[in-house]
Symmetry: C2
Subunit: 160 residues, 2 copies
């Protein structure tokens, strides 16, 4: 195995370009951290990325990894899995349903759709042994966060 070279190259080029455009410095650390995420198949967490990057940059620290990942997120170069949450959230609705999710604040609301319930995905490629359920996540920015961001933008425009 090994990660497809062209895809990795494409991602690295985009990464460099985005950093340049946004005035964020291109450092070793950022480069290696992004490379690690970009060539991973398994959506690693910060600790795992840290351990791997440290093989090439032994003096890097975990908090640089965190800071870098959050910047990359702001720049739209990576995303996080699921809603952003530092807390586990619970759901007592065991009927088949789907979710609207705000990627900013994590707000989540159920919705129902007979059509979506009928979704059947092709065989799970022997990754999952048994499938429990198939759920659609519609991700976006909720009304409240949207308003907040507009306000913020207005202020920062006025500051200039």
């Amino acid at each position: 195995m090994g990660f497809p070279t062209e895809i990795l190259k494409k991602r690295m080029d985009f990464f460099k370009e985005q950093l340049r455009n946004s005035g964020v410095k291109l450092t070793h650390q950022r480069m290696e951290i992004f490379r690690e995420v970009a060539m991973s198949e398994e959506h690693p967490d910060a600790e795992k990325i840290y351990r791997r990057v440290r093989k090439r940059l032994p003096s890097i620290s975990l908090d640089t990894v965190y800071r870098t990942l959050w910047s990359l997120l702001d720049l739209g170069l990576i995303s996080t899995l699921g809603p952003p949450r530092k807390t586990v959230r619970f759901d007592a609705n065991m009927d088949s349903h789907h979710h609207y999710v705000c990627t900013k604040c994590g707000m989540t609301r159920d919705f129902y759709s007979k059509k979506l319930d009928r979704l059947r995905i092709r065989e799970s490629e022997s990754i999952l042994e048994t499938v429990q359920r198939t759920q659609v996540e519609v991700k976006g920015i909720c009304v409240r966060c949207s308003r907040k961001m507009q306000l913020k933008n207005r202020f920062s425009r006025e500051e200039k």
Copy 2:
């Protein structure tokens, strides 16, 4: 507003039955904690559940809330949002893709589907202001966890 009475009743009845069947004691605390999750529209976290339950049971402690929630999860009475994770996980694949997710260990793998990409959900009921993307999560038990559980079951059978 207010939560539909029939649905809540149905959930409470199922809850009591499941506790009875599994030999887990039905205590005030468990009752109030489950009720709180069952009648919530917003997928609260442990802290929020704790604050609400405390209004009725002022002496309850946060760790009882946690312990209860994990038991309810084991009993299949509630679920958690997204893969169970104590760490944030990152994804540098910004192309449209979907996920296989193991609900036990959180293992997540990408898959692609032109057909699913074409999914268009009906208007988001003014909950989301703007939709960024629609992603399908196929949830189940991965091969590795499945094997582990089989082993465990075999042992516990032998213990008797």
